[in-house]
């Protein structure tokens, strides 16, 4: 009886290990031709998550995709989850990170080749794709990291008054996101003549015509500064 119990336990343990290995995320890379040009694709669990279009640092786009897949597999080996993926901006470039490790960086050449709006937008798209491939929700990913929450005070610019400064606001959220906020756009909207909504949109530029919302950040306080004491 004792021997059979040991055998049963060993079988169960082997089954659990096999199931864990099968369930773990896996990244692969492949060459594809897009618009007559060879690109490197990175796949997670069979879904294309990153497409690299440029040769850089003596590596072809396909070789770079292979290196990115290796970094992703290293990260999966360290049991990162979709919540651990974030985008960090610096000097006009943006990196997709898994916890503290850089997976891939969207630089100017890659942004131009992908015809993306910005490095942050391209890296954000990569992150959303990875999050989805891992079964996560990209909408929540932008809100996850309040463990390093930060706050700062920025001007409030009226959308209805073409960018006129109408006060100041303190915004709060994950530090990486708060760092991007340059101002808060205030949009006034009336509902059935009885309700006035002042909608606050944290933005990454001072342009209130084209609103570039910073996700994951919101208003914590509205500030009035007394300029004159009459």
């Amino acid at each position: 009886m004792r021997k059979s119990a040991v055998v049963a336990l060993a079988v169960v343990a082997a089954g659990v290990m096999l199931a864990t290995a099968l369930l773990a995320a896996q990244a692969t890379a492949r060459a594809q031709t897009v618009d007559g040009r060879e690109v490197g694709e990175v796949l997670v669990n069979g879904q294309v998550v990153i497409r690299l279009r440029t040769d850089q640092g003596g590596q072809t786009a396909v070789e770079r995709a292979g290196a990115v897949a290796e970094r992703l597999n290293d990260a999966f080996g360290r049991r990162v989850t979709w919540r651990d993926f974030s985008v960090v901006n610096f000097d006009g470039e943006a990196s997709l990170k898994a916890k503290d490790s850089v997976i891939v960086t969207a630089n100017r050449q890659e942004v131009d080749a992908a015809n993306a709006d910005s490095a942050a937008a391209l890296a954000g798209q990569w992150r959303d794709n990875v999050v989805r491939a891992l079964g996560g929700n990209p909408e929540e990913a932008a809100w996850d990291d309040w463990s390093v929450a930060a706050k700062k005070i920025v001007p409030v610019l009226s959308v209805n008054l073409n960018g006129a400064r109408v006060g100041a606001a303190q915004v709060g959220g994950p530090k990486a996101q708060v760092d991007k906020v340059k101002a808060v756009a205030q949009l006034d909207a009336d509902y059935h003549d009885r309700i006035r909504a002042r909608v606050y949109i944290p933005i990454s530029s001072l342009n209130v015509i084209k609103l570039s919302r910073v996700q994951g950040v919101s208003v914590v306080a509205l500030v009035d500064v007394k300029v004159l004491d009459l």
């Binding site: 929450a149 959220g173 909207a189 919302r213 994951g216 919101s218 208003v219 009035d224």
Partner: protein, 148 residues
């Protein structure tokens, strides 16, 4: 037995009337516009009744400008710590599970020299006391003023 019959009848009519009142009440509330609800039932009732349409209205206004927020949104009453009671409404935004927990936003007036302001604290209770604790991952997206 004869004396009990009218009482039973009254009981049946009362229960029927209660059912009819319950069935008709929402329709009556929708028949009123938001101004009527504000005047008759007050800010709290108006917010409760119109929270969803106001929430959709704000999200639509943001969507039209390509500035919609990711995550969940919800409209809840604002409770003033200084003045007490409901003083308006706020749209909160954030992690869907945390947004579900939010019952109100507490407004705290603060003054530091020439700088004054209003802090907005999303809370998971309608009775927050004097030291409200914020729910992480949720913030204020819009402040909603109701005109009586």
């Amino acid at each position: 037995m004869k004396t009990r019959r009218p009482i039973n009848r009254i009981l049946v009519y009362t229960v029927l009337a209660a059912f009819v009142a319950l069935a008709v009440a929402p329709a009556v509330a929708f028949a009123f516009d938001i101004g009527d609800v504000l005047k008759i039932f007050g800010v709290g009732a108006a917010i409760k009744q119109f929270a969803d349409p106001i929430n959709k209205f704000i999200n639509k206004a943001l969507g039209e400008r390509g500035a919609e927020a990711r995550g969940a949104t919800k409209v809840v009453p604002i409770i003033s710590v200084g003045r007490g009671g409901y003083i308006g409404a706020a749209q909160v935004v954030g992690v869907p599970d945390n947004v579900k927990r939010i019952k109100a936003v507490v407004q705290v007036e603060a003054r530091f020299g020439d700088v004054s302001g209003n802090l907005f604290v999303p809370v998971d209770t309608t009775n927050p006391g004097n030291n409200p604790r914020a729910v992480d991952g949720v913030g204020v997206s819009a402040i909603i003023d109701l005109r009586i």
